[in-house]
């Protein structure tokens, strides 16, 4: 055999080494499976190790807490068919459904919930969202290691099907908090026998309407009906393929080709295109979230409320949503997004909200010059944002709006991890931040400006504000509480504690095949309420 023929053969043989892969993927894409563009990769199927809304979409299908969400994301009875709340608002008693079972047929017991809540708060579990259940008695103390005895947690099983939860203080949103994945039960019988691998496909058991049957990291999680779930007979969709995809323009092409039924996000630039070519498929609705810029109030000149006010006034919020972003985000002149429960309909607003933009710019110039900044002594600001197309556009627009005031803006973007590490360390001047509601209560947002709270990146501090929040936390009368909270919000806005820009919109596109998808302010859409039509 001649040399080169051999070398060619050798080359082919080498390339063939590449091809040693085995049969991959089950390819189980039956007609009644729904395909969802789900954003990031799922971190875990263990509800105590989650932190993202994309994970919630999976976890919320495969687990069910004492309470669960209805199609409008309101809390309704889940594994507990009924509950009683004591008059002082501190003790909740839940009665579990007799037919609540794990996917292996074992009954779901009150003990499973006790075990789950203890595991959530145990320091060695290192659950990232444990603090959402801090309203439970001693939860915070256990989670921070002040109490080591887990049995001190205010959750106990009265019998197999009765659970009692005691709170630190009355918490009006506690039933809502119980719908969160931190309150899902975990299968005690399985974890105790198989603590390391219980969460693997093939071993895991769940108590929700679906169970996970396949998980390829970086690709998808596939679920199928849980035959043991009490309402399985009413389920319309056989299973869901949650795709891990972060490139939404690639995802949108697949959607258009009919490969995806529901996208949980879409490229904003395509909004006009969708409205025109796929009418009715874009679901752009208010979302309980606030997009804002934070000032580092521990550093001059941002310790000066007038400087903050000037910068805030000069931002033309009417332009950002409709023009810069193109999806029409509503401008934010207050801190708490509209539509929050336990809050007055007309929340607080900045006093200059209705002033025409031209006048606002003039007043902003005056405020800055009073603070000593002007053409001779320009204010230099570094504006930071985490790397993202939308944040970039907003920052570019805001920088251009500040420029006429004689403010020189340097933009600085970093990956999300670096951005938030620096925010926590106070290493910034002004920076982009955002907050999505975890539960339906204004305290969620107002806490962001309280002294000593980790997420109060700007270290803005106001004694009266803190006092009002503390006062509200022990109030039972929700209407009075709402008024006190609104008073606090007004204080923060008057002092320009931060710079609210717009309220988030949830942006789904849903194929006309999918029925039962109901828009709601928490952007939670459980598969059990949907169906697929050809």
């Amino acid at each position: 055999m001649t040399i080169a023929l051999r070398s060619f053969a050798g080359a082919l043989a080498l390339s063939a080494i590449f091809l040693t892969g085995t049969a991959l993927d089950s390819g189980r894409a039956e007609a009644a499976d729904m395909v969802v563009y789900n954003g990031g990769d799922v971190t875990s199927l263990d509800p105590h190790k989650l932190s993202g809304d994309w994970e919630d979409r999976v976890a919320g299908d495969i687990y069910e807490g004492l309470m669960t969400e209805d199609p409008k994301a309101k809390p309704v009875a889940g594994q507990a068919e009924s509950h009683e709340i004591s008059d002082d608002g501190l003790t909740y008693t839940f009665h579990l459904r007799e037919d609540a079972r794990w996917s292996d047929g074992e009954p779901v017991t009150a003990e499973d919930f006790v075990y789950a809540f203890r595991r959530l708060q145990a320091p060695k579990t290192a659950a990232q969202y444990a603090y959402l259940q801090y309203p439970i008695k001693n939860a915070e103390a256990i989670n921070t290691g002040k109490i080591e005895d887990l049995s001190q947690l205010g959750v106990r099983a009265i019998d197999d099907k009765t659970l009692e939860i005691t709170l630190e203080r009355p918490t009006p949103y506690f039933l809502g908090a119980l719908t969160h994945y931190t309150a899902y039960p975990v299968p005690k019988h399985l974890i105790e026998t198989n603590p390391d691998d219980w969460v693997q496909i093939g071993t895991i058991v769940t108590n929700g309407p679906y169970k996970p049957v396949e998980w390829v990291p970086g690709s998808h999680v596939l679920t199928a009906k849980n035959e043991e779930w009490y309402g399985v007979d009413d389920l319309q969709i056989d299973g869901v393929r949650f795709l891990s995809m972060e490139d939404n323009s690639a995802g949108f092409k697949r959607y258009r080709a009919g490969e995806i039924d529901w996208m949980t996000d879409f490229p904003k630039d395509q909004f006009a295109f969708i409205e025109e070519n796929l009418p009715g498929q874009a679901h752009v609705v208010p979302f309980a979230g606030l997009y804002y810029y934070v000032f580092n109030t521990s550093k001059p000149p941002f310790d000066n409320a007038d400087v903050r006010k000037a910068l805030s006034m000069a931002v033309n919020r009417q332009v950002i949503g409709p023009q810069v972003l193109g999806t029409g985000e509503p401008p934010a002149y207050g801190w708490v997004p509209p539509g929050m429960a336990n809050y007055p309909e007309d929340g607080a607003r900045v006093e200059w909200a209705d002033m025409p933009y031209g006048e606002r710019v003039e007043e902003a110039k005056t405020l800055l010059s009073e603070a000593g900044y002007g053409p001779d002594n320009p204010l230099n600001v570094v504006l930071r944002y985490n790397t993202n197309e939308n944040h970039k556009r907003a920052a570019v627009a805001v920088a251009a709006m500040w420029k006429p005031l004689g403010v020189n803006v340097e933009l600085n973007n970093a990956e999300v991890k670096v951005h938030y590490a620096d925010l926590r360390a106070g290493d910034f001047e002004t920076a982009r931040a955002g907050w999505l509601a975890d539960y339906n209560d204004p305290i969620n947002f107002l806490d962001l400006l309280k002294s000593g709270v980790e997420m109060n990146y700007g270290r803005w501090s106001n004694e009266t504000y803190n006092k009002l929040l503390d006062q509200a936390s022990s109030m039972q009368d929700l209407e009075e509480r709402g008024k006190v909270l609104k008073e606090a919000e007004q204080i923060a806005l008057d002092d320009s504690a931060a710079l609210p820009i717009y309220y988030y919109l949830s942006e789904n596109i849903v194929s006309p095949k999918v029925k039962g998808f109901e828009d709601n302010v928490f952007d939670k859409h459980r598969t059990r309420y949907m169906s697929l039509e050809e």
Binding site: P267, D269, Q270, Q323, V324, A395, N412, N413
Partner: protein, 305 residues
């Protein structure tokens, strides 16, 4: 016409094992220039390149818009003669022509930085290795071989993580990873040069190692360095666009060709101008550099191909 297949192949083939010609080294360069002028593709490319470079440097002075100020009346505007936005505007209402010119400027700058760093390191390393010879040479070249086996792009991304957003620093660092081919060529040339009489004369008269390398060996490397640079610049421009795609581009409001194209790709149906104009500039830039590099290589390596 011989388009290069890869920098390493092109250069090593031409320079690694060739005997250095005896006689005046200058005449080699002059010969090469003569051959280059006869290469039509290379000559046309030279003009195209010159035009792009001049436009990037002086163009911004002649257009009414700058690259960072939004035109609040024209967001996402398609190209139009009346409004003066000849290339249209982007989603922030900024003039695309101005941004393309600035982007070209930035892309060329980072490419030049990386290339310069890699040439300097490569020449010094290769010349030192070749000149010292023996075990040191063996060890130094072994190190180069090892570096070739590293997954280069992974290290670029790690450096990105490390340096954060300082693009100029980053590309200096990329230059530090790119010098390997240069070092090997320079070593080869040095090995054949150092046996020559004038080096021995210098050594005999007591001149120490480094001055000899600098004064006598480096000037003989003009040819390979020029070719190397024309082949490296497009490589860096592509690396830059790859990093932009991953979201590691230059800081706003600055931009680069890679960033513009990465952004334009997402909207190619709804705002095609955002892709077409920067894309056309990038492709002409890379093509002209490729033809020039190729022409230079053929000119310096007159083997009939």
């Amino acid at each position: 016409m011989t388009l290069y297949a890869g920098k390493r192949e092109a250069l090593e083939d031409a320079f690694l094992d060739r005997e250095m010609p005896r006689g005046k080294p200058r005449s080699l360069t002059r010969d090469a220039m003569r051959r280059l002028r006869a290469n039509k593709a290379a000559v046309v490319s030279l003009f195209v390149l010159a035009f792009i470079v001049l436009a990037a440097i002086f163009g911004p002075f002649f257009i009414p818009y700058d690259y960072e100020t939004p035109d609040w009346s024209a967001f996402r505007a398609p190209p139009s003669i009346e409004s003066g936005h000849y290339f249209g505007t982007d989603q922030n209402g900024r003039d695309l022509l101005a941004r393309t010119l600035y982007g070209t400027r930035i892309s060329l700058t980072v490419a030049l930085i990386a290339t310069t760093v890699s040439v300097i390191v490569g020449v010094l390393y290769g010349a030192t290795s070749g000149f010292l010879g023996g075990r040191i040479d063996q060890a130094m070249m072994r190190f180069v071989d090892v570096m070739y086996a590293l997954p280069y792009i992974l290290f670029v991304i790690l450096l990105m993580v490390m340096f954060g957003r300082n693009v100029f620093l980053l590309f200096a660092a990329i230059g530090l990873l790119e010098w390997l081919t240069m070092a090997r060529i320079v070593r080869g040339q040095t090995l054949s040069l150092k046996e020559r009489e004038f080096i021995e004369a210098a050594r005999a008269s007591g001149v120490s190692t480094f001055p000899i390398i600098l004064r006598h060996i480096v000037p003989n490397l003009v040819g390979p360095v020029v070719i190397y640079a024309t082949l490296t610049v497009p490589e860096i421009v592509i690396t830059e666009s790859f990093l932009s795609y991953l979201g590691f581009g230059v800081q706003e409001p600055l931009t680069s060709l890679g960033t513009l194209i990465a952004e334009g790709t997402d909207v190619l149906e709804v705002m095609p101008w955002l892709l077409l104009f920067p894309g056309a500039v990038l492709v002409s830039l890379l093509l002209s550099l490729a033809f020039i590099g190729d022409g230079l290589r053929d000119a310096f390596d007159p083997k009939d191909r």
